[in-house]
Symmetry: C2
Subunit: 228 residues, 2 copies
């Protein structure tokens, strides 16, 4: 990993064209050839960058300034960095990173709700996780107290897309005689957070919304495991 602080200007050409006027920035050159150009603000996204796999050629422009040409290996994306003045330039050997361990993403939410379907609606029991249909898997297929089928779509953040997705599943499921024998399939849209528009659309389509409390679910799960 090489870190350079320099007054520079940058031009990108690829899926779009973009330009950065002359200013002082931080350039990170990773060992896989990728380059990040960071300013002292914004979020974690660099102002401009080149993703690996790519190569960097260091050269000199016509006017004598240092010029770095970064080229993507697979596409014809290019990044040109013209350097006026280098303020800092160091390299460090970081080795290979062991990587990030995550907990609390949608998959975990689905696992916990599969264990505790009754938190979505009284008397709900699990039939199957990842119930396959022609257009993809329904997160949870359940049965309610009256024995009717209930399709559950789980999102961390419930937005309009999720409601559309569940609607497509319900349209399809309600044509399946095996499921509709005892009546139509209901839908439940479950998420840690549900956006107003999504809630309106769901309600309009007769789909119930359920807010999920991840910490509470995890607590229930822990309490259960302590019994063994």
């Amino acid at each position: 990993m090489r870190i350079v602080v320099a007054r520079c200007q940058v031009d990108y050409a690829g899926r779009l064209t973009a330009h950065l006027p002359l200013a002082t920035r931080v350039l990170m050159l990773k060992s896989d050839g990728s380059v990040l150009i960071h300013s002292d603000g914004g979020s974690y996204k660099p102002l401009n960058w080149m993703s690996p796999p790519c190569t960097v050629r260091e050269g000199v422009a016509e006017d004598g300034r240092a010029e770095w040409l970064v080229s993507a290996t697979k596409s014809d994306d290019t990044l040109r960095i013209l350097i006026d003045e280098v303020l800092h330039d160091t390299s460090h050997d970081l080795g290979v990173d062991p990587g990030l361990q995550k907990d609390g993403v949608e998959k975990h939410l689905q696992e916990l709700l599969a264990e505790h379907p009754a938190t979505l609606a009284d008397g709900l029991t699990l039939v199957r996780r990842e119930y396959m249909t022609a257009i993809g898997p329904v997160d949870l297929m359940c049965r309610d107290a009256e024995g009717l089928s209930v399709a559950v779509e789980i999102k961390r953040r419930g937005e309009i897309d999720g409601v559309e997705q569940l609607t497509r599943y319900l349209d399809l499921l309600n044509r399946d005689p095996a499921l509709t024998r005892k009546g139509s399939v209901r839908g439940i849209f479950a998420a840690q957070e549900i956006k107003p528009q999504a809630r309106v659309l769901a309600t309009d389509r007769g789909i119930a919304c359920a807010l999920v409390d991840y910490d509470a679910l995890r607590g229930m799960d822990d309490a259960e495991h302590r019994l063994f």
Copy 2:
């Protein structure tokens, strides 16, 4: 902007929980308080980070190691960085960045198609850009050779969401007597690239698909401007 290279471990708690085992990494501390933790690989996304607005408190852990506690201002997200050894530590004043200038995004695509609607379908003429409806603006409202209304939805990459969006517009527009007087409103889904699933769904709903060649359109536009 402060740049630190250090052997460290990191714990994040917020919308999820995550952990980084002990390893050598680059820590970027931006002047707005935000922190990025980069390894020597991956793409531009850091292994872990805290977005502004946030504050960093430098302290000492029980075992004597340096400990940085980063707290988000608005949420209760926290990032804890435990430092075993500092290999590098420098600060630089970068000033305010003039920012990135972009060209070639969806807005430009819409401008070009508004100039040349006939590239979407023979005889198509523009009625209005950003035609407002109760659920949002239709990108292009056109009229075909027979004088019938055509709604155009433009995407850079055509996916299933875009088809759903256009479908909602068409449902609404076909209830509008002013437009349906002469017949029903057709839809055209235009994009530089159309995913197979999106194409299937569009076709199933009687929506035409049109692939857009940005460079060709820009060429037509340039040729036109040269006449003046």
